[in-house]
């Protein structure tokens, strides 16, 4: 049994299918990257997994449980956490309040333990708990959104374009944080990303999502520039 498995899934909005007949699985401690041109359904796929988009047909199994008809909050509570490409935090709440909402279902004792783990991955955060989220820089906001998802100790993290719109230095910090998550937790990650250097450095498997079709690219056989996959 895979940790998460998509079987012949079509995802889109109420009236429109964006991607068709996708099958994919991820096992424990795997890091999967999905690349592809903009507008070909990478975010749609991740949003579909957490039920923010409509599943037209097919099954999504998490530890063998069909989550394709569950409510988004139920999927999140099961341990599948999505970090959107924009947002991912409550702008008018402090960092601590954001983390408390992220760890809403944790007992107070567990929350404190998780907070220590978050501080190890994002050391800057512990000195700024009372800072309101919308006063953070772009990179810090992105890190907060990842921390908010991570604090509940999910089994799978779905990271949607984590480096999108960030300056090179902030990108490096995000990459460092994701590397730290991979090294320090046993979490599985599905990552969509346009920075292909980051993809090559982080992922165990790379898939190309183009024209609604998903195809694995063997990392060993990749030579030269990955940019051709984004066209």
């Amino acid at each position: 049994m895979h940790l998460l498995e998509l079987i012949d899934v079509a995802i889109g909005y109420e009236a429109v299918k964006i991607i068709n007949n996708i099958s994919l699985y991820i096992d424990e401690e795997e890091i999967i990257a999905i690349i592809g041109p903009n507008g070909h359904g990478k975010s749609t796929l991740l949003k579909g997994i957490v039920r923010l988009n409509t599943i037209h047909h097919g099954k999504i199994l998490f530890r063998g449980i069909d989550i394709s008809a569950k409510e988004p909050h139920e999927v999140a509570k099961l341990g599948v956490k999505y970090v959107p490409e924009t947002g991912g935090y409550f702008p008018y709440m402090s960092i601590m309040e954001n983390l408390k909402i992220g760890g809403y279902h944790l007992q107070s004792y567990d929350f404190k333990i998780r907070l220590k783990e978050i501080e190890e991955i994002f050391p800057w955060i512990k000195h700024r708990y009372m800072q309101v989220a919308n006063t953070l820089s772009g990179g810090e906001r992105k890190m907060l959104s990842i921390a908010r998802a991570l604090i509940s100790k999910p089994e799978i993290l779905l990271l949607d374009e984590p480096s999108l719109g960030l300056a090179p230095r902030a990108k490096q910090e995000i990459k460092k944080a994701i590397t730290s998550i991979i090294n320090n937790t046993k979490i599985s990650i599905i990552l969509t990303e346009s920075d292909l250097t980051m993809v090559k450095d982080l992922a165990n498997k790379i898939f190309l999502l183009k024209n609604g079709k998903l195809k694995e690219i063997e990392i060993d056989k990749i030579s030269g520039n990955l940019e051709e996959y984004l066209i």
Binding site: E71, P84, G88, F90, M93, I101, Y104, R148
Partner: protein, 289 residues
């Protein structure tokens, strides 16, 4: 009476009335900011709470038991949410549809109260009868009791919203629905409880004001309008703004009634609302929505 005594009387009345307005308006503001529910039934819910209180009091002659009107209204709020609002949440034009539904709901409650109790005025007996004298100034003990009860409830409400896990969840849902879902919050339960709390705040305002003023089934209409003025003045979803606006509007209302006549007090409040809408439409403490 001297000017100082006049001012003291106005301040004390304004504080008691402002605290009642604050309870009412905070309920309205919570529903508006969390569910996008513009509740035109809020005034009727206020009076419904007062009538249930009177009914239990008359039936049992037990003041403490009469306060069970509050949990009854809470459950009524949850039932109304489950039966009506929940189904409307994801539909097109849900804000407008829900607003119209609350308008009809308010009219239905008024009508039912009219059928059952008749249009005659009712009054909740004063919790403590008597006066407190400060110099020549005599203050009804009831005003002081109501001020303390309201203030206590406002503090409890503040602590609930800003220092409890559930209050944090209500604020989160009010800020962003999708983000709340991603954090695993059960939106429907939070909405249901928020409607229950909103209704409870209105009903408490009804019970407290019903112990000062006589009321009939339509007596919630003017408090509803005043609550809207307060929420717009203070800023939708702003606790501090709503609180400050409640006392300012109460002061204007009582002051204008005292100095230029009771028939002017509502006019002054409406004028205030128009000015705020023209100058700062999102209120003194509100953020642009």
């Amino acid at each position: 009476m001297s000017i100082i005594e006049d001012m003291s009387a106005i301040m004390i009345s304004s504080f008691a009335i402002g605290s009642i307005y604050a309870l009412m308006a905070l309920g309205l503001s919570m529903l508006w900011s969390t569910l996008d529910l513009i509740n035109f039934a809020h005034g009727s819910i206020m009076i419904l709470g007062a009538y249930i209180f009177v009914y239990i009091l008359m039936s049992t002659n037990n003041l403490l038991l009469a306060f069970s009107a509050i949990p009854i209204v809470f459950l009524f709020g949850i039932a109304i949410y489950k039966m009506i609002f929940e189904k409307m949440l994801k539909t097109e034009d849900s804000i407008l549809k829900n607003a119209l539904i609350t308008l009809v709901l308010g009219a239905m409650i008024e009508q039912l109260l009219n059928i059952y109790f008749g249009g005659t005025y009712e009054k909740i007996p004063e919790f403590i009868v008597g006066y407190v004298s400060i110099g020549n100034l005599k203050i009804a003990t009831q005003y002081i009791v109501i001020s303390f009860i309201s203030l206590g409830l406002l503090i409890l409400l503040y602590l609930f919203i800003f220092y409890t896990k559930y209050g944090l969840a209500i604020r989160a849902v009010g800020q962003n629905l999708q983000e709340s879902l991603l954090c695993g919050l059960n939106i429907k339960n939070i909405y249901a409880v928020t409607v229950g709390i909103g209704f409870v705040l209105a009903s408490i305002a009804g019970i407290l004001s019903g112990s000062i003023y006589i009321f009939n089934p339509v007596s919630g209409r003017i408090p509803l309008l005043i609550s809207y003025i307060i929420v717009i003045f203070g800023g939708v979803g702003s606790f501090t703004g709503t609180l400050v606006a409640s006392y300012i509007i109460a002061l204007l209302y009582v002051g204008s009634s005292y100095y230029i006549g009771g028939s002017w007090s509502l006019f002054v409040a409406y004028l205030m609302m128009l000015l705020i809408l023209a100058i700062r439409p999102y209120g003194i403490f509100g953020a642009k929505r």
